[in-house]
Symmetry: C2
Subunit: 355 residues, 2 copies
């Protein structure tokens, strides 16, 4: 049985790291005898927008819904398309329409990568951020009044539902339960965000009743970001709303040395729709075109995708390969963000050879 | 002419650090011949709530509005009063009713304090967070529907006004203009928070027209938190909404070694109402009662208060004093968070003696 993978490189460095992600993916598929059928799409990119005046074709849902997974690069090119248009017209559509309600993001200090935190070594930082991925602060509900005048008022609504919050909490509790430390941390801000966040705290507590083995704590988001820097070893599984999860899953990887290596899985746990795998980093206009982007975020996303498709060994082989290449520390191979002077392609090839 | 200072210790370690804040304040006042008249208040604390069923007396506004400044410790005791009740019933009231629309928070790596960031020394981190302090994400507007059922929906509204945003941007631009680097960074999330944040970006741009010498950049809040850790030297003045400013002004001080030293000024720049000075840290129930809280956040807040009241030399004398004590590094005097085994009082006395 063949897995159908929809491949969407997107914009900027997305187009540069995708070939390396595919190289790793195909190497692992070959080694483990996995049958993949890749379909390439040029939409969900600002180039497509330039030509068609929209980010996606009208029938994108039909085109993608039969895929077993979506493998995405990065999207956004603010010089030509404002970010809120390119993102709401692509990635955020996928997350919602395919009900990918869990965004799972590992934060792990890898061998050979220098953490910006003093005295931290591999093993000290190793946790997951579980981010709600379909609702919350990411809304387009609201509007403006007295526009363009001194009385202008702008309102944006955060919308949370019991269905939406409970299901991601359940996923986070299950994940915590499956790990040796069995520890869950909830990101809140119930002292300032006075309606949604106290209610979020209640839901965390209510769900906890079903997981007596999991120990739970919570921090307000302000001090939680501080603790990521001061005590990254405290964390095992961190569950957060859409916005807080977005922040924590950039900050966490930064504490592990570079967001260039961080992967993410946008998961529809029910399996009704394809899940989507993409690096945490964006299209990075500042380094796009230079061929120096770190491909590991994309490569690691391929590993998460294989695991999701039922091939954990193949996924692990990819992780082992890039960890080995990083640990080796060959500066001619490593990209600048991890201390080398190599290219995206050189690092991608080195990883694929290892697999 | 005497300055009327309203003194409110609040809860937890607020009650422990306040005496040391006052010790420094009085030492500086004595040395520079400044006439202070202190008035002490027990409200705006959870003890007061326990007795009166509310955080503030009905006439708190009348009692405080004539003060030249409010010197606050910390508030919150979640064991007895939920945070959103204690905070909305005290600090957040003060900020709003006294229109303290600027929350100014320095992030500075001090001599003798070890940063959790590798290879950072004093001088490498030295910037201000200017936080909008009266509106935005901190709202109590919104509500619940289908409460207690599976269809439950919870809505919270972020409310921004042109008046509210423009005035804090103006303050931030002026501050950037007054500093040697003349650099302003705006915290945004216009790719996800699709109504308020693109509009925030427009206001930043519009205000910039009046400050051609100030160079401006912007980052989405997720990558901005990452850059605080990876490149804290990039920043000079950072301007942010209420929530983003809250996050950045805990994370920034954490990067400088401890949030125990960070001060804040809640300023009503128009001078119609008293401004409020308080440490960034909270009431810290976990260490309250042990006498080991770092008093420097409170002491530094006293320095900001003196500067605000027109006594910059007295403020500087306080800063010089705690910097000298930190640089000296006497472990018997320093509190545990900065590597010593001293008490709140020992550190407070050492600072006051220096003044
Ligand atoms: C206690 C809390 C409501 C407050 C805030 O979020 O503003 C605090 O974190 C601060 O930064 O002053
Ligand atoms: C590009 C942006 C809309 C997106 C998000 O905020 O979700 C990105 O930062 C991410 O984390 O996947």
């Amino acid at each position: 049985m063949s897995h159908r993978i929809a491949v969407i490189p997107g914009d900027g460095i997305g187009k540069e790291v995708m070939p390396e992600g595919l190289r790793a993916l195909e190497a692992a598929a070959k080694r483990f005898g996995i049958d993949l059928s890749l379909e390439h799409f040029d939409f969900a990119s600002c180039d497509y927008y330039a030509e068609h005046g929209q980010m996606l074709p009208d029938d994108w849902f039909e085109q993608l819904k039969g895929a077993d997974a979506i493998f995405y690069g990065a999207v956004g090119w603010p010089e030509t398309v404002p970010d809120h248009i390119s993102l709401w017209g692509s990635l955020l559509q996928f997350r919602r329409r395919f009900d990918q309600y869990v965004n799972l993001r590992p934060c792990k200090l890898l061998p050979g990568v220098k953490s910006p935190l003093a005295d931290r070594k591999p093993g000290d930082i190793d946790f997951y951020v579980v981010r709600e991925n379909t609702e919350g602060e990411y809304s387009s509900v609201g509007g403006k009044m007295f526009e363009g005048t001194d009385r202008e008022v702008v309102i944006q609504e955060t919308v949370m539902t019991r269905t939406g919050v409970d299901r991601v909490l359940k996923y986070a509790y299950e994940l915590a339960q499956s790990r040796p430390r069995k520890k869950l941390t909830s990101a809140t801000k119930s002292n300032g965000i006075a309606i949604t966040m106290p209610w979020w705290d209640e839901r965390v507590k209510a769900m906890g009743v079903h997981y007596p083995e999991v120990s739970v704590d919570q921090f307000h988001i302000d001090i939680l970001t501080a603790n990521f820097v001061m005590h990254p070893d405290w964390f095992d599984v961190v569950v957060a709303s859409n916005l807080f999860g977005d922040i924590l899953s950039d900050l966490g990887p930064a504490c592990t040395g570079t967001i260039g290596v961080a992967p993410s899985a946008n998961i529809n746990p029910d399996g009704h729709f394809p899940s989507l795998f993409e690096p945490v980093h964006g299209s990075a206009p500042d380094i796009a075109g230079k061929g120096i982007a770190n491909p590991i975020g994309q490569v690691w996303s391929a590993a998460m995708m294989l695991e999701h498709l039922g091939h954990p060994k193949a996924g692990q082989a990819i992780v082992d390969a890039f960890e080995a290449v990083l640990a080796e520390g060959d500066k001619a191979v490593l990209t600048p963000d991890v201390g080398g002077h190599g290219t995206t392609e050189a690092l991608g090839r080195a990883i694929a050879e290892r697999i």
